[in-house]
């Protein structure tokens, strides 16, 4: 997905001279095509992410539309206060890009994992949050974020994420996208864990259950119209994310649904509230976190959903 990010940015920066990239000394040759025609707008901020966030806000105040880019924990939690004050409070159109989010960098350990970032960004007024599931979602949503011209957190993956849509989806910022229509259970998912949501969907369908599957690429603002409607149609809602089960997308859904008169049960699946370490791959880490089809189904059975 990071390749798609660099490619789309390069294309857009050719026609929009206000686009500017600050990156914290990562990416190696990723941004070479951008540097070829916009070297001055491709700025290595050094390994100084807090300063990078404030500088981007300063650039935005002077008419640029900056991106800040590095591995997710360093562009969200390391510099959180700079994001809070300089970007969010001042409402500056900086797009904060977290690459390799969730457990993408599983083998690099908790320093490089991010499953608190949605919770952090969700708590900031003025902030928008978009988590594309694959390169195609990224390509469609990224121009919409630039047009939004507001503080934005763009939570992306690393590389070689499986393609999740068969046909080009009509994704609109702020609107949930229904991938499959169903009548008995609904799975709401966001970001790069979508292939697991799809595997869960297939497994449940194989059991004869009619399942609705939704890409909630925009976590903030949350598409509450869809939630209101879905609450009338289903008794159980499953949320799935590669983020701490507390504070992320599932919590956002839960917070909204809890205020409804006809509130279905919410079953949140994500990373349990402990650090994940001693792993060698993303698959390994997801297994340790209980993010497998088998575990989710067994929990749904325990909860009398199935």
């Amino acid at each position: 997905m990071r390749n798609a990010f660099a490619r789309v940015l390069t294309e857009l920066a050719k026609v929009d001279e206000s686009l500017l990239l600050y990156y914290a000394d990562i990416g190696n040759r990723l941004f070479n095509p951008l540097k070829e025609f916009a070297a001055e707008r491709t700025i290595n901020a050094g390994i100084a992410e807090a300063n990078m966030a404030s500088m981007a806000a300063g650039s935005a105040m002077m008419g640029h539309k900056p991106f800040i880019y590095t591995i997710t924990p360093f562009t969200t939690s390391r510099n959180f206060e700079q994001i809070k004050i300089d970007i969010a409070y001042q409402n500056q159109p900086v797009i904060i890009v977290g690459t390799g989010s969730g457990l993408s960098y599983a083998n690099l350990g908790p320093t490089h994992h991010s499953f608190e970032d949605i919770a952090l960004m969700r708590s900031l007024p003025n902030m928008n949050i978009v988590c594309p599931a694959d390169a195609e979602e990224l390509e469609i949503l990224m121009p919409q974020l630039i047009a939004l011209n507001k503080p934005c957190y763009f939570r992306i993956g690393k590389k070689n994420e499986p393609k999740v849509h068969q046909n080009q989806p009509d994704l609109q910022f702020g609107h949930a996208f229904r991938m499959e229509h169903g009548t008995q259970l609904v799975i709401l998912s966001t970001g790069t864990i979508m292939p697991l949501a799809q595997a869960l969907y297939r497994s449940l369908e194989a059991r004869g259950i009619s399942v609705e599957l939704v890409s909630y690429h925009t976590v903030k603002p949350l598409d509450t119209d869809y939630l209101n409607a879905v609450s009338q149609r289903f008794k159980h809602i499953i949320t799935l994310e590669e983020h701490n089960v507390n504070g992320g997308f599932g919590s956002a859904v839960l917070e909204h649904i809890s205020a409804l008169t006809y509130a279905p049960k919410i079953h949140r699946f994500g990373i349990p509230d402990h650090f994940i370490d001693q792993v060698h791959s993303c698959e390994d880490a997801r297994k340790k976190a209980g993010l497998t089809v088998e575990n989710i189904i067994s929990q749904l059975v325990e909860r009398d959903v199935l």
Partner: protein, 267 residues
């Protein structure tokens, strides 16, 4: 105009506003007033009638707790009425104890959390250079603020990009919130530290307005970022406040405001 006379009047207003609105940080404001006077009357390209002019120079207050010093300077410079300063810190006031997004034109950025302004100004200065804009950026930081690591991140970056439209001024009054700055962290030799970070540095008496004016004029001719280390006195101008760190937080009563006014030669 007589910078010294303006500074004296502003110092009295600061005391009076602090006393009447019960807002603190007087000592921090008083050490910075001469720097602000020289910037706003002698150096910066600004027009109170067109506060958002695209070609203006920018002042960013790093030590946001000295907001009252900035508001007072802007009022005396004609951005708004001096009487408005008495709204300081009140409900729905534009003049919050730390400058917020609702601050009046002339206040260029929010402040209050230390160590943000130099980074912000660095991004602003870089973007202006990329767009061939003529603006200059002036950042005032406290010595306590230099404890923040982001200051040094920005210092390295700005020097790396040779941002010659950026000037940092350290209000080096030697006292931070709860103690002596040079004992809490190792600051000296401060101008050499900035020089080692790649900045052109000038050290001077931060209450010598002639020296300030000449240094700030010199700064415009230097082809890299400039740091002015200004030795100042916390509480400057009012003897019973000078170098007494209680005045970081203390608020003067009405008798003390009258005493201050006398000391400032205003009656």
């Amino acid at each position: 105009m007589d910078i010294t006379a303006i500074s004296a009047k502003m110092r009295h207003t600061l005391c009076d506003v602090s006393s009447k609105t019960k807002t603190p940080h007087l000592g921090s404001c008083l050490s910075a007033i001469d720097i602000l006077s020289v910037l706003y009357w002698k150096i910066m390209r600004i027009d109170p009638q067109q506060p958002n002019a695209r070609d203006r120079d920018y002042f960013l207050l790093g030590k946001g707790h000295a907001a009252s010093a900035l508001y007072t300077t802007l009022a005396y410079r004609g951005f708004f009425d001096i009487d408005a300063l008495y709204e300081h810190g009140q409900t729905n006031s534009r003049f919050e104890e730390h400058p917020g997004v609702n601050a009046p034109a002339g206040v260029e950025a929010v402040s209050g959390s230390l160590g943000h302004a130099l980074s912000l100004a660095t991004g602003m200065a870089l973007s202006c250079k990329l767009q061939n804009m003529p603006n200059h950026f002036y950042v005032l930081m406290g010595d306590g603020e230099l404890n923040e690591g982001t200051v040094w991140e920005a210092a390295m970056f700005a020097a790396g990009k040779q941002l010659d439209n950026l000037v940092a001024i350290v209000d080096f009054n030697k006292l931070q919130g709860t103690g002596e700055s040079c004992q809490i962290m190792h600051l000296e030799p401060l101008e050499k530290k900035w020089a080692a970070f790649g900045w052109h540095t000038i050290r001077l008496d931060g209450h010598d307005t002639d020296a300030l004016e000449s240094a700030l004029k010199e700064a415009k001719l230097i082809s890299k970022p400039v740091c002015i280390v200004a030795d100042t006195v916390k509480g400057k101008g009012i003897s019973f406040m000078e170098n007494d760190n209680n005045w970081h937080y203390r608020i003067p009563n009405s008798d003390e405001v009258i005493m201050a006014k006398k000391e400032l030669g205003l009656q």
